[in-house]
Amino acid sequence: MAKKNDLQNQHLTPDMFVPVNADKVLSDVKFDTKPVGYLMDAWRRFKRNKASVVAACIILIIALFAIIAPLVSPYEMSEVDGYYKHARPKIAGMNNSGSGFWDGTYVKDQSTLDYIYFNGIAMGALDTDFDGKHDWNEVLASEFNPIKKELDDYDYTTQVNGVDITSHRYELRVDSYYEVGFRSVEGITPEEYQRILDWEQETGLKVIYPVINFNDADAFDSTNINTDSQDNYWYRNKRGTNGGTVPIDINGNELTLEQVMNGELVPNYAVRYDETPDGEYIVDPLKGYVLASSLSPEEYAALTNKRYSTFIEDRLNGIYAYYNGSYVLASSLTPDQLEGNTKRYRQNGVEAEDGAYVFDGNDYALVSSLSEAELARAYARYSAVYTENSKGKFYLVDGEYKTGTELGWKIMEIEEYKAGGGKTYSQAFVLDYNGNYVLDGKNYKLESSMSADALAKMVVRYNIDWRRDTQGKHTLFEGEYVLYDSLTPEQQDSLLTRYHRVENATFIRTGAGGKNYRIRVLYYNYYRYLNDKEPVHVFGADSQGYDILVRLAMGARLSLVLAVCVAAINLIFGSLYGAISGYYGGKVDMVMERITDVLAGIPTIVLMTLVRIHLIEGSVPVMIGDTLLFNLHLTDMGGIIFAMCATGWIGTAYSVRMQFYRFKRQEYILAARTLGARDGRLMFRHIFPNALGTLITGSVLVIPGVIFSETSLAYLGVISFTGPNITSLGAMLSNGQSAGISKFPHIIFFPALILSLLMISFNLFGNGLRDAFNPSLRGSEE
């Protein structure tokens, strides 16, 4: 306006103007430059905005990551390994560097006992000959040592009841993958077992290690050990006086760290009673397999953890008794020779010249000197199943001790059976006139009265391969007990190889009939065997053991697809709605505005919950009159999109409406209308393109909004994309939060990082677009 007035004020007259180039025709001359279109113009402006270009690149990179990472990663989305849950981020190349940078380690402040525990894992892994002896430096340098670096060790003093207690503590960088150490694996078939052995041969990596004897309370104290890590306590241990689990020597004395460094840990591997036609062999950590009958009682006690062992039983040859420095077959001794022995060593009831003795917890006491109660306690404590005193043998039947005669039994044989792990159960089969009785854990029951299943369970529980009755020794052969002597020598041999592998002591039979094995594996190598790759989670593993990287990529993919879908639907519907409302104005606008007002008042969370319950988890029949058209049912994704779009378009509609208000009264519209353009053409050919810039910007800015609401709603548990094959950024954040950010910050860090990057980039990108499309708005909201 101002310029026009200026011109008028100067009183210009037509003769003051001379046409330029009046003699030339310019209409044929081409423009030197091409005309610049609206989009091109915007693109040029956009390019100049460095921050937005960078943001666009980041979005592109995240999108590429979401597409490519699952294809490239060695992990599948649904792949889960419970032992590596919470594993720290690790890059394969950083393995064992001890640098602390992206190498799967974390810093732990530990006591000396934990220090021994961690080094113990490495020692156990190195211990391929199972003697527990190693060079300490070798242990420290072992790949399997979870301690990758000792950062610091210091003396720490606390006051307990006014007394200063100083303990030595270590600040260690511990590898979360090697930390797992040893684990038990159940249900390994013999074939699988063989395959593992073959794999070990092939690769030179050791997977299978000897099973630990958990049953011996003197060598394994489970008080402070949780079942997850119990397979790492391969050495004899007990509960320390100040808590914790302390390694001990063969006599039960606590070992110091120096002693451990000198290799004095004593292995507590399950002693297997392996029998050959020569007799029973047991595992000596120092010498390997030794014939039980060649040992002295002390040696035998040390190896088997049985304190009193005058008699040892060899299931093939019979009972051995200790006589003159060695074990001799009891049947080869004279009654006198045997008598002397018996009187000296007997665990429960000891008979001497002056009467029966019983072990009352501290010493042997004369039975006659004890009160009834003391006697009962002594018996109850040491002989749950049967007790023996001068009056004879007593059996626990229905909670009471009775003699066989009282019970009307004809006692044939009582045998001790060793279950897996070497613990001795006074497993007895007693015969009476009614038939064979078996012990079902507490009481004797008629074998014939028990169901086959119950019997099988019992057999499994006590691992009974052998039993003896009046006819002689029976053995389990092809599922049935048969007389051992009735078998051919070949069959006998096959039994021996089948049930008693002498060459290793590395599995325990489990399952019905002992068909499957329980083995103890070095989990890192077992993982290599199972998956043909090393466990390396670049972004770590979450609280279930899923790989975060792959799931993050899939989650980002889902969140992006969701956001783009919602943005697109909102754009289309919102534009239509806003266009009509803005173009027609008046009463139409008034009504339509009130509709959006009302819709905007509906809480998203209620809508989400409704959609989840009625459309995702259930279905709604769509009827016309009485005829059922179809059942409306949506998938997780569809439902969430539906719920988000239900009110999400309002923003778009609002801005389109404003644009229409701005443009509908402009003169070019009037011109078009005069030329006969209809409403539709005016709306979508003439006005709408003007609103396009704002709309595109708005739609781009909707994307971070949708991602944000998805994460918040997932975080609040209103929607959940959780399962082996589905996840979203929100679900991962919520998982990270519940895993505990104090202990496992990495689980929440990576999803939060990607989320923040996405939000920042989309906002920057959107602002860049806005500036490019609407230069007049530049800087107004920076």
Binding site: P704, T711, Y715, Q737, I748, L755, N763, S780
Partner: protein, 363 residues
């Protein structure tokens, strides 16, 4: 149209929108099935109680109750039912009483209609919903007030500083930080704060303390200390937003011609900024601040969840998840009303703050 008439018409429209929204919300929440864990005899008593409350789908004879009947009963209860006993001497409301055997409400009519919004059945058994919400209001208001007290001065100060140092490194730094804090969701920096301050360095508690631990007062040092982290997490976004708008408005004001005039008159730069630019720049910002004061009553679901603050936000989510129908409706109505009211207030405040703006005027 006079301002008075404009306000009247706005209020009338607001009421219409409010009522329709409430009806819609009512229908939607009642579409969510009631979750019952009761079995056997308990279930029968519960069913009776639901019928008394107007929550059940069928009446005592097994006839279906339509949504319209439920809605009618709800509205009737709010406007006309008088079930609360009011102590004539102290004027205090007491809990609604139920007959132990029949589960029926014992009416105690005092002849006056109360605004009876119903009772909570799940979260706070048989407690008046207004009380349930009231109990959790204090922590929410505290959080919001602390957060506003921190963010408003800091946000405005940063904004002014950035505008004065426009296009210098200070401005770039602040603008980048603002960009970051506006984009990153508040729960992300809630996690960061919690991780570093609470877990790594152990300076501040990770969770807000309960009223018991804090010595029975919301203003004790224990309580304030435990609220620092949630308040900080809530403030960052507000500070960033305020900084951004203050900077934008002030830059615009600084480049306008009246500033040039002020300088030509002989005012120093700081004088002209203080007297002219700042005042004008504040005009569009103040309504926002006013509306955030209206918003102090509403809770932030996520922040409350992360820091375990027993506030209204958490209550709202719980009321939906546990299907505490009346409680949900009360919260929705309460905040819906406040939201709509604050919209009107903001629009009006433009007129009060800037005489040039006349609300509702035609073009």
């Amino acid at each position: 149209m006079s301002t008075f008439k404009y306000v009247l018409s706005r209020i009338a429209l607001m009421l219409v929108v409010f009522v329709v929204t409430m009806v819609l919300c009512f229908c939607l929440i009642r579409l969510l099935p009631f979750k019952s864990e009761a079995t056997g005899l308990q279930a029968i008593t519960e069913q009776r109680r639901l019928q008394m409350l107007g929550w059940a789908d069928t009446d005592a004879d097994g006839n279906k109750i339509t949504m319209i009947e439920k809605l009618g009963k709800w509205i009737y209860n709010i406007l006309f039912r008088d079930v609360q006993s009011i102590d004539p001497e102290t004027g205090e409301k007491t809990k609604i009483e139920y007959d132990e055997k029949t589960g029926e409400i014992i009416p105690n009519p005092d002849g006056r209609p109360d605004w009876d919004w119903g009772v909570s059945l799940k979260i706070d058994y048989l407690k008046d919903v207004t009380e349930v919400v009231g109990d959790r209001m204090t922590p929410t208001i505290l959080l919001n007030v602390y957060s506003l007290l921190i963010s408003i001065p800091i946000g405005i100060a940063f904004g002014i500083f950035a505008a004065l140092k426009k296009n210098k490194w200070q401005d770039h730094f602040i603008s980048t930080a603002v960009m970051l804090f506006i984009s990153v969701p508040s729960f992300v920096y809630a996690f960061l704060l919690q991780y570093f301050f609470a877990f790594k360095w152990g300076i501040l508690p990770a969770q807000s303390s309960s009223l018991m631990d804090a010595g029975g007062s919301y203003f004790s040092w224990e309580m304030s200390k435990s609220l620092i982290l949630p308040v900080l997490s809530m403030s960052f976004g507000t500070i960033a937003g305020l900084t951004r708008s203050t900077r934008a408005e002030l830059t615009e004001a600084l480049t306008s011609e009246y500033m040039l005039l002020a300088r030509t008159k002989g005012l120093t730069r700081s004088q002209s900024i203080m007297r002219h630019a700042l005042k004008n720049a504040m005009v569009p910002i103040l309504p926002g601040i006013i509306s955030s004061f209206v918003g102090i009553l509403s809770g932030s679901y996520i922040i409350e969840q992360i820091f375990g603050v027993p506030g209204v936000g958490k209550l709202y989510i719980m009321s939906i998840n546990m299907r505490d129908y009346d409680l949900f409706m009360f919260i929705t109505a309460f905040y819906g009303f406040i939201g709509l009211l604050s919209n009107i207030l903001i629009d009006l405040s433009y007129g009060f703050l800037d005489p040039r703006v006349k609300m509702g005027a035609k073009k």
